[in-house]
Amino acid sequence: MERSAITAQLTEIMIDVFDLDELEYRDDLSAADIEEWDSLSNIRFMVAVEKEFGFRLSNSEIESLKNVGEMVDLIERKLA
């Protein structure tokens, strides 16, 4: 799967999960940039990613992520 396709899908998920009107994707986006991104919506985010891409994220994988770019890396690896 192309990286651009993954980021596009991820952007859609984030718009839904964080209830945003729009979102400009950047690799360095993190919880600090999005007001609605708290510990609870983070869980919803992880579960939405799992559902969309069809794999399960482990606790250690979730905890290691620093920003959305790393999430895309992880998805690329998992889908490879």
Partner: protein, 651 residues
């Protein structure tokens, strides 16, 4: 059948969900009205957690105006949990729209459950919630690890039950709210395997024991029970429990299950507010039997043992009959010639449903929305009390468009799924089951006969006389309390003030010497209507003021309200009062009684501040009318002094 956790009895979320939410949000931003109906229409879909959250935020931001619009019943739910229910709380406002309740929540701080419940000055108590959900998991109750000594196992269960009961008592005493208790979900994991079931003190054994004793010994009539164990088993335990989410966030169930969890909580709140559905309206062809009676004939339709199709339709009939036995009214709405539609009921040996079970039977070629309105009217209930089961997606869609308040389960074309979908949708959620419920379907049956008697008699006075009515008026007593509370909480149309009281409130009113109370029953030659009216007056020296006056619409036009007035007027006169006063507080549903006091001869004394009208009756000028019924006035212990003696007002 689609995935259970997606609530498959609802239509799936529309593809333009996000755009519709945005439109609602910008309408709000631009100061335009967001109408309840628009929100309810969106909430009627099987939404996921994020979608429920988005919609819920709009509800939160418009709470006051939605409340003022008056179409939803506001409920403040306190959540006192030993685990994380934030996501459930987030899902509740949008989910509530589906069930007619405007839910707001107040949560206790993490780890502060007992303090919040036992301290009358806690933030939870200060918020004055209507209900408190006491959500304690097995770990918090000391039931998550095995106890292999039999005595220790019993003791662990006993102490968990004692703790839950003390918290429940604390909520009642310190917060004055209703309490929702829940059973515990069995863990997916075993220790011994199947042998767990035989080891006293295995976790499965502990939880089974706790659940059984909770229901039998702890939960009382005035409590609500959320059967989490049944919900988890229905979903599947391995799917319900998500160990990762438990370990990283103390979530009691998988995230996917949260919309279902929230739906079950809202059903319960709606049921407690008297908003559960009352009547199941059934299509005939391909719903109650396979095939088309008009084309296939009574020998050609598929029904009964011997074919999967025939058995599936039989199961639908059996389930409908079981619903009727617990008090749900059945009606038929079919596009058919009436003569043809009746043939299977009369001639097919395997029909479980008989003509007698159907309170209103409509088979014609008129559109179904019109017929559903006629059914509701014949039964004197709102169209929002109807559930409409039809295999035909076009008919379902038409009814949803015309009458969005009618519940229309999305049943697909496999009749084997119908019973499950109808049941899982939870339209008929109950919070009590009593003799009135057992007899209700028969009472409505009798009502349909009464309507036809009216057509034959033609003259109202003759008709009323022909009913041979016996009206019994008594003060509140312990025996009637549950039904009194039920009527007080669910009567919307014939209700002058729409004041809601809990069972505890009713008990206090019963004991208060400054209150004059009436519970009214009516029997006629078609059957016992049960308790049909509840009235509360505040007795003063000069003036008796009407606090509550409500009546079941079943007995509308029977002049029962005149009998009630005669009774209270006689009592007030005997006690030396000179006037009765009353007020009409308008709601979207009670326009029926706008002129109630006027019809009874009261004079309007002005506008009521906050809306409505004020009324007064001069007792010196009042004489009781002759009424076409036998009236028996009973006196209770507290009312002996000044209740009128039994009087027959029949001429």
């Amino acid at each position: 059948m689609a995935d259970l956790l997606a609530l498959p009895w609802l239509l799936p979320a529309p593809p333009d969900f996000r755009a519709r939410v945005r439109a609602l949000r910008s309408a709000h931003g631009a100061g335009e009205a967001v109408r309840t109906a628009d929100l309810v229409a969106l909430a009627g879909h099987g939404l996921d957690l994020s979608q429920l959250g988005s919609l819920g935020k709009i509800v939160d931001s418009r709470r006051q105006s939605l409340c003022a619009e008056g179409r939803l019943r506001p409920v403040l739910l306190g959540i006192a949990a030993t685990h994380t229910l934030d996501l459930v709380a987030e899902a509740l406002p949008a989910t509530g729209l589906r069930h007619g309740v405007l839910v707001d929540t107040v949560q206790t701080d993490y780890g502060q459950l007992a303090q919040a419940v036992l301290d009358p000055s806690s933030a939870l108590a200060a918020a004055r919630p209507d209900f408190v959900l006491l959500a304690l998991d097995a770990a918090a109750l000391g039931l998550a690890r095995p106890q292999f000594e039999a005595a220790a196992a019993e003791a662990a269960v006993q102490s968990a039950l004692d703790y839950v009961a003390s918290l429940r008592d604390g909520v009642r005493a310190n917060i004055g709210a209703g309490v929702i208790l829940h059973t515990l979900a069995t863990p997916a994991e075993a220790l011994f395997g199947s042998y767990d079931a035989r080891v006293p003190g295995s976790v499965r054994w502990l939880i089974a024991r706790f659940n059984q004793r909770l229901c039998a010994e702890v939960v009382q009539d005035s409590d609500l029970l959320l059967d989490m164990a049944a919900m988890a088993e229905m979903v599947g335990l391995a799917r319900w429990h998500d160990p990762l989410r438990w370990h990283d966030a103390k979530m009691p169930c998988a995230l996917d299950a949260v919309p279902l969890y929230a739906d079950h909580v809202c059903r319960l709140l709606a049921a407690a507010r008297g908003l559960s559905r009352k009547c199941l309206v059934l299509d005939l062809d391909n719903t109650l039997w396979g095939g088309i009676i008009g084309d296939d004939g009574v020998e050609g339709i598929k029904l009964g043992q011997g074919s999967a199709r025939g058995e599936a339709h039989l199961a639908v009939q059996s389930f409908a009959l079981d619903l009727r036995r617990r008090g749900i009214i059945l009606a038929v709405c079919s596009k058919n010639e009436e003569a043809a539609a009746l043939i299977p009921f009369r001639e097919h040996d395997e029909m479980v449903l008989k003509e007698d079970h159907i309170s209103v039977f409509i088979a014609n070629w008129t559109d179904k929305a019109t017929n559903l309105k006629a059914i509701a009217q014949a039964l004197n209930i709102g169209t929002d009390a109807l559930v409409f089961l039809d295999d035909n997606p076009a008919e379902r869609e038409r009814v949803r468009q015309e009458l969005p308040e009618v519940a229309v389960p999305e049943v697909g074309d496999e009749p084997s799924d119908y019973v499950r979908l109808l049941s899982l949708a939870g339209y008929f959620e109950a919070v009590a089951f009593n003799d009135e419920d057992r007899k209700r379907a028969d009472m409505y049956q009798a009502n349909a006969q009464r309507a036809s008697a009216l057509q034959k008699v033609g003259n109202l006075d003759e008709y009323l006389a022909s009913l041979e009515m016996e009206c019994t008026i008594a003060p509140f007593d312990d025996l009637g309390r549950a039904r009194i509370a039920q009527l007080v909480n669910k009567s919307n149309q014939f209700n002058l003030t729409t004041r809601r009281y809990t069972e505890a409130d009713i008990a206090a009113i019963q004991a208060d010497p400054k209150k004059f109370t009436m519970q009214v029953r009516l029997v006629d030659r078609f059957g016992d209507n049960g308790m049909i009216s509840v009235v509360i007056f505040d007795r003063g020296d000069e003036v008796w003021h009407c606090d509550t006056w409500l009546m079941s619409c079943r007995v509308l036009g029977r002049r029962v309200e005149e009998a009630v007035l005669a009774h209270v007027a006689a009592a007030a006169k005997a006690a030396g009062a000179s006037r009765l006063t009353g007020e009409y507080i308008p709601t979207p549903k009670n326009v029926l009684v706008e002129k109630h006091f006027e019809k009874l001869g009261f004079a309007c004394t002005g506008e009521r501040s906050g809306g409505g009208t004020l009324w007064e009756l001069d007792l010196a000028a009042y004489t009781s009318p002759d009424l076409p019924m036998q009236i028996e006035a009973k006196t209770g212990a507290g009312a002996l002094a000044d209740s009128p003696t039994p009087q027959a007002l029949v001429d």
